[in-house]
């Protein structure tokens, strides 16, 4: 504020204005008789006042109504001042002169201001090219005002300028374009204002000109011109408004639609947060209906929740909502309902309420909630309001549905990321490549399910030329399964170097798992050790799928007894475990697998099954391990084509080939390519 004042003082226009005020006051106070000098000062003051006020750029408002009102108020004030002036102020003397000067200043300021307002009104909603017309008019008004100072002989100059000014005023008042842009209620109001303004302007001019202003001809002329301007302008305004009145409603509706569209587009960009969206919906509902309060309700199983209260208390909103749900909810209104508040025991309400609306928020699953608005003023909801609310609640419903879907997809993505992580973890736990030995060829295949199934296998090369192997299946899925797998890897890696007996090792592993494994989880495992020199295999099975021994195409099921890890932590577990020892001879094949192999499903939900597995093995027993593995995986892929894979598939195959030594160097690789071919 202070800065603004300083800025104004340093302004040249302001300085000139102050000087002219001082000059004007001095002349009018001390030499009121010299009409000419007073007039000169008055013209100077008027001119600088115009520059100063015009420079302040007072009007930034977009609504013309306050301007029209101001033009009415200013002459009214002058008339009142004039009325008391003659009673209060003495007829002569310096004091009288001073007040006289002050009154002149007031009149001058008022009319200059009125002129500026006319200027604003003229340019309101007007193309800029018409500036020249207004400026010409202003120039003629100015000239006609100063020419009043010419001697009487030359008064024709003044008169001709005056007439041209009036003509220009009439010309400039013909098109009042801003009328079209105001709403109907304001137009009616404007009609009244126009009539009042015409009367006020003419009477002010008449009274002031015969009285106080008559001594200063330029002022007198300016007032006359302005009042003529006012009379013409407001008469034109009156008729223009009158002609626009029939189409006013159409304009109203259009403008409402446009602003509603803007609000709706706001909804679409705000779908990220449901709470935020509710608040916006509540806010917009207020705006489009011109209601006084709004809130949202959300249906729950047997009741509802209230949210996004806007301009209303929780008690009132609940009372009104209660009323609505009691009276209307049974009908499941699919459109906006309007009713009066007096039925809602209005004496209890803290705020006034005359009518209220309830619009449903619909989704594909039915009505999810409602948008409520109330009006306090006696204005009830009209058809446009109802239409707007219907359209708006549709948009809001879509916005809420979008927000919900977005939230769901984010959640889904989160789960998918988690599963990705679990799969990556699982991949790191299993061997990168198969070990290679002179007497034993090893092949393995692993195909993870989308929801990590918890399969784990591993090889540990032990001292004395022995190979330990483990195949296991954790009962959980996803990230929890991958944690248990990691633990298994730790346990088996360390125990395999310490404990030779598979039975003892599994018993120990069971004990170690006791503290970490939840009761509803368990692990099936098969652990064994192969002597790479003698071909002797010792193994135990803890609830896992049996191992298959292929001898000359014949399947021998190796299924020593044994409880799954984590099913029992007493001695029963150790007692249940059986240790089996077999001697491999040339071309013997050992096949280890998880239930993902035998329980792979086809489109009829049938299992791949043991029989099919054994059949494939019998047919391929002569092939090398990688080919056997590949043929099984291919058969599974063929069997379960067009169906999702529910569980991890793991296959480990050993072949004892003492005499031939290892063959197929080229094919001796891990299972990577096979996995990709199956996962398609």
């Amino acid at each position: 504020m202070y800065k603004k004042i300083v800025k104004n003082i340093s302004n040249v226009r302001f300085q000139l204005f102050i000087i002219s005020i001082i000059g004007f006051f001095i002349t009018l106070t001390f030499t009121p008789e010299s009409q000419f000098i007073c007039s000169i000062w008055a013209v100077a003051l008027g001119f600088f006042l115009f520059l100063f006020l015009g420079g302040l750029n007072l009007s930034k408002k977009m609504n013309p109504i306050p301007f029209v009102m101001a033009i009415g108020i200013l002459p009214a004030v002058l008339l009142i001042v004039n009325l008391f002036y003659s009673f209060l102020i003495p007829n002569s003397g310096i004091v009288a002169n001073f007040f006289n000067a002050f009154f002149h200043l007031l009149i001058l300021t008022s009319f200059v201001y009125i002129f500026l307002i006319f200027k604003e009104l003229y340019f309101f909603k007007q193309k800029r090219e018409v500036k020249i017309y207004f400026n010409t008019m202003a120039a003629f008004i100015f000239v006609s005002t100063i020419t009043t100072l010419l001697p009487d002989k030359l008064s024709f100059i003044h008169k001709s300028f005056f007439v041209v000014s009036i003509c220009l005023i009439a010309f400039n008042s013909i098109r009042i374009s801003w009328i079209a842009f105001i709403v109907k209620k304001e137009k009616i109001y404007l009609l009244l204002l126009a009539v009042v303004n015409v009367i006020l302007m003419i009477s002010a001019a008449g009274i002031l000109n015969t009285g106080i202003a008559s001594k200063i001809p330029p002022l007198d002329n300016f007032i006359t011109v302005m009042s003529v301007y006012g009379a013409i302008y407001f008469s034109m305004l009156f008729f223009t408004t009158l002609f626009h009145l029939p189409t006013a409603e159409a304009y109203d509706r259009r403008s409402q639609e446009i602003s509603s569209l803007q609000y709706f587009s706001k909804l679409i960009t705000q779908v990220l947060d449901i709470d935020e969206l509710s608040d916006t919906v509540s806010e917009i509902a207020l705006k489009i209906t011109g209601a006084n309060a709004a809130w949202l309700t959300w249906n729950t199983d047997d009741s509802y929740n209230i949210s996004s209260l806007n301009n209303i208390g929780i008690v009132d909103s609940r009372m009104i909502s209660d009323y609505y749900f009691k009276e209307f909810a049974v009908k499941q209104n699919t459109f906006t309902a309007i009713f009066y508040c007096d039925k809602v025991t209005s004496q209890q309400l803290m705020e006034k309420c005359t009518s209220l609306s309830a619009s449903p928020i619909r989704t594909s699953n039915g009505i999810k909630g409602h948008i409520f608005t109330i009006k306090k003023a006696p204005l009830i909801y009209d058809e446009e309001d109802v239409n707007a609310l219907n359209t708006f609640s549709d948009y809001a419903s879509v916005a809420f549905e979008n927000a919900r879907l977005l939230k769901e997809s984010i959640e889904k993505e989160r789960i998918e990321n988690e599963l990705d992580l679990a799969r990556q973890a699982q991949r790191k736990l299993i061997p990168i490549k198969n070990p290679e030995f002179t007497n034993l060829s090893v092949s393995s295949a692993f195909i993870p399910a989308f929801e990590v199934g918890g399969d784990y296998y591993d090889f540990f090369e032990l001292e004395k030329n022995r190979l330990a192997f483990i195949i296991a299946d954790v009962s959980g899925k996803g990230i929890s399964a991958s944690f248990i797998m990691a633990e298994l890897k730790g346990i088996f890696t360390s125990l395999s170097t310490i404990i030779n007996s598979p039975r003892e090792l599994l018993s120990k592993a069971n004990i170690l798992l006791k503290n970490t494994l939840e009761r509803k989880y368990f692990v099936s495992a098969l652990y064994g050790v192969i002597d790479l020199e003698t071909g002797k295999v010792v193994f135990s099975r803890a609830g896992h799928c049996p191992a298959l021994l292929l001898k000359n195409g014949e399947n021998i099921e190796l299924k020593p007894d044994g409880l799954g890890l984590g099913l029992d932590f007493s001695d029963k577990f150790r007692d249940s475990l059986e240790e089996r020892e077999i001697q491999l001879i040339e071309d013997d094949v050992i096949v280890l697998y998880t239930d993902g192999v035998t329980e792979a499903k086809n489109s009829l939900m049938q299992d791949f099954g043991d029989d099919l597995l054994r059949k494939i093995l019998s047919e391929n027993y002569k092939s090398d391990v990688h080919k056997i593995s590949r043929s099984i995986i291919e058969e599974i892929a063929y069997f379960s084509k067009n169906t999702d894979q529910y569980d991890d598939i793991t296959l480990v195959i050993f072949k004892w080939n003492e005499k031939k030594n290892k063959n197929g160097e080229m094919e001796c690789q891990n299972s990577q390519p096979q996995q990709s071919s199956l996962m398609v």
């Binding site: 929801e451 989880y521 007894d561 409880l563």
Partner: protein
Amino acid sequence: MSEFTTSTKQLDGVSVINLKGFLDAHTAQVLEAAFTSLINDGKFNIVVNFKDLAYISSAGLGVFMAYIENIRDNNGDIKLVEMNEKVFNIFDLLGFPLLYQIFNNEEDAIKKFNEAKQSENAE
């Protein structure tokens, strides 16, 4: 695929849960709820009938493990009856017959419960 229901009836002081459909990780909670409500009612003598069960996954097996400790601590038991061969094989593979008594029909299982009760009373 995930269609699974349970129904519970009372027979001679024993609760019999009938399983129907596919019992896997997604439907396991249905069975968990059935066990929880029996335990909350203090009913610890439970027979589970597998007659109408089409499939059980390892997560389904886990449900039995999750409650057995609590039930046995309360002198109760879960006995399993009328398993088809496929379901039995899954239980058998993991060694469940060592941990649970499995019967051919409900009557045998209920009889077993009542025998146990009598012997308890005799003591």
